[in-house]
Point group: C2
Chain length 346, copies 2
Amino acid sequence: MSEYRLPTIKEIAKRLNVSVSTVSRALRDHPSIGLVTTMRVQNVAKELGYEVNRSAIHFKERKTYSIGVIIPNLSEPFFSSALTGIEDAVEANNYNVIIGQSLESFEREKRIVENMKDHRVDGILVSLTKETSSYEHFESLKKYNIPVVFFDRIPSKKDINYVACNLVSGMLQAITKLVSLGHTRIGLINGPAKLAATLQRLEIYYKCLKAHNLQLDHEIIVSTSLSKADNRRAMSHLLDIAEPPTAAIVFNDYVLLDCIATVKSRGLVINKDMSFVSFANLPIWEYMDSVPLASIEQFAYQQSSMATDFLFQLIKYAGNPTGAEAPLLQHIIDSEMIEYGRPEGQ
Amino acid sequence: MSEYRLPTIKEIAKRLNVSVSTVSRALRDHPSIGLVTTMRVQNVAKELGYEVNRSAIHFKERKTYSIGVIIPNLSEPFFSSALTGIEDAVEANNYNVIIGQSLESFEREKRIVENMKDHRVDGILVSLTKETSSYEHFESLKKYNIPVVFFDRIPSKKDINYVACNLVSGMLQAITKLVSLGHTRIGLINGPAKLAATLQRLEIYYKCLKAHNLQLDHEIIVSTSLSKADNRRAMSHLLDIAEPPTAAIVFNDYVLLDCIATVKSRGLVINKDMSFVSFANLPIWEYMDSVPLASIEQFAYQQSSMATDFLFQLIKYAGNPTGAEAPLLQHIIDSEMIEYGRPEGQ
DNA sequence: GTACGCTACGCAACCGTTTGCGTGCAACGA
DNA sequence: TCGTTGCACGCAAACGGTTGCGTAGCGTAC
């Protein structure tokens, strides 16, 4: 509680008997201020421990030098590593990161957007909740001139800025591997229809089967709401059909954890009776006894740091009041298969 | 890009031919403004889509209505759940959360503190890095009147605000359970000496052994730097001594994952040849084949939300320029043992 | 001697809101 | 009729810094 008020530009001015404008300019090495004056000002500033009051600048410049990040759930390694990507990319620009976890709740997502809008963040990065299917809350941000970049979980719209991950590349590698191991009946345990990722995975699945001339059988395509119970139900369903698949593509590693438990509870052996390929690349597999043959890495860090770069481009654009519309920034990163499995036991 | 400028209080005033002060008061239902005027102002405000410019208020009030959170690593469930606790507690106060991951780097921690100071956050919540053993960077915040509350990983100092977790309660439960299962030689795989938690665990270990009249044997106390290799080394060391322990307390679940792998690689059976008790309560255990007998829950959410409450108390205190020194806010939460294990196989 | 240009600095407005204090006006009591 | 009171509102300063423009003083060229 020692110093209640920080020194201001005014006090420096008073001390030196110059005007505040001179001090302001001297501190920023403005050429129209003489060298002697500049030095004297800077010395006194240092002596007093002067620091600019950013709030004043924010106020005047109508910027807060902070960006909002809306993410479903930081307890998922994918997102926490995405956040690290954002932090690293933001640091260079001297910005702050305001965080909001939507916790997969659409309502919460809306509230967070509202709050960030109130706080006048300079831009927002978003990965959507599983529930989100309308995007008005983001569109209203245009009025406030707050740019938005989506990453990974992006809206099914065209006129947006985004960075996403192309799963085809990784999936093709994975199916090629499965085929090379002799699998011909490869199932799909997909996510909820709401998610863009679900449709995407389905399309990719079709594409990859076709690429390998494998028979398409709708019986071995199931979907889950991603709840624990439903994951198990989906897996059980696959095992119960007359001619079960010998391998399955699974929506993500979390679903897979449940699938593995289900398979094992039936006394079946992972990677022998049933092989898996999953998405997400959880760091825990190296500790697990039962692992997928492979997981498809979606590069959270790279996605989010590129999205952050996009956002800063848009922020610069928004700053220039050239009437010109900002360009759409869109990019798709290739996924990659990461091998884990030890096929056929051991 | 449609509306470049948001409507201000001035425009409302102009529209109604009243002064800005009247508008300002009317918007906040000030009693000295007539009912009619108040209504007219509020109507026009709604019509224009007026919203207060918080930057102006922040500037005037010298507050940013945001708090900083410095956390080692959000990829640890403990910390991501702590962050959720903070978000929930903050929401009620209409504050924002500015996040900074120190990634266990002391230098990074200092940089983050510096940045948050520049941004004039109203307060800071911290959980220290493993490296942090000097605290000047936090003490300098006093000059700026920015209160700090530590949680979980707290400095070894007396004059600080903190919330921490008392491990004695949980540990006592765990050792009682081990003893009831017949264990008498219980080892300790501890963390690096730098961490306060390490010393704490050691003291608790002593205390609990004594409480059960167990013999203290320094040979079965080892420590690890928390690196994967060192975790395995530590575990191997325990197994290699003449009379190995039949159970061990392990610093945390991450270390335990490595210990389990080490034990199994020797063909030994978890919870039969070697039983474990650990800290942290990772959500993954339910998917694992080999689990500790019990894990000691440290209540990240509760710790962090209480720390947040503390912080808001201090912020209020800092706002009142009563010369009075703020009180020290300190609290310790009891840990609890969570049982997982199925002793003696299955 | 006048006109001009350059250097080095000051003046004042501005960003949007809050708030202490002042004041005109009407009602009221004496 | 005059003084008092209270209501409803306006004035202006303040928060800290930036910036367009104005200008004093000086040197220089004609």
